[in-house]
């Protein structure tokens, strides 16, 4: 299982660098397909993204590419959003959550294709 988790991480890191995202779009479905319950997969994914995003932000900050004001404008409201989102998630059934996530992936996938 440890080797599988590392491989999932490497794949997520590759996609994170390619598309400037945290990698959760890869981590969550990979953990679910590996047999971890959906809610634990999303919580564990956030922990993993903390490491990836920190490493990415440090690397980019050395090149001076980060606009701190813009990051705060999105990131601070994001903190309030995530507290609400996590609380809301506890009331949803795992099946609803999985289908909702599949819907989000489909929407983003179609957006990237066209």
């Amino acid at each position: 299982m440890a080797a599988l988790l590392l491989i999932i991480g490497v794949a997520a890191g590759v996609f994170s660098a390619l598309f400037g995202v945290g990698g959760g779009v890869v981590i969550v479905p990979a953990l679910v397909l590996a047999g971890i319950p959906t809610r634990s997969s999303t919580g564990t994914s956030l922990a993993a993204i903390s490491l990836t995003a920190a490493a990415g932000a440090i690397a980019y900050s050395l090149h001076g590419d980060i606009k701190v004001g813009a990051a705060a404008l999105l990131g601070i409201p994001g903190v309030f959003g995530v507290v609400g989102g996590v609380a809301l998630q506890q009331r949803l059934a795992g099946r609803t959550l999985t289908l909702g996530f599949a819907l989000v992936l489909t929407a983003v996938g179609i957006r990237l294709l066209v």
Partner: protein
Amino acid sequence: MEILAALLGFVGGVLAGLFGVGGGILFVPTLVLVLGLTQIHAEATSLLAILPTVIVGTWRQHRYGNVDLRAGLLVGIGAIAGVEGGVQIAKALPEDTLRRLFAVLMLLVAASLAWRALRQKPAYASGDEQH
């Protein structure tokens, strides 16, 4: 524009809490289309914006018992190792090709997740199916 960006930041946080993603999928287009950043600045800034959201999200989920810290650490370490590979691939292949490959992968994963979810019975079904 600032108010719209802050609103989308909030929505990105809700998505992060609901689906365990960082919110970057919403943050990057917001930074480019609403705040007018270049793609590279948007990707860099998105990673910093993600950070407080996922740290607070991890803390909240941990309180609900939904975080496997060891698994998160292993995936995170793997991801840090993968980042350099991603940069190399991104430079070697045309961006359009990569974007379409990623889109197709997402649609396949979505179909596979939906199929699994629909196959299993609802966890909280009202008891009319008991035999």
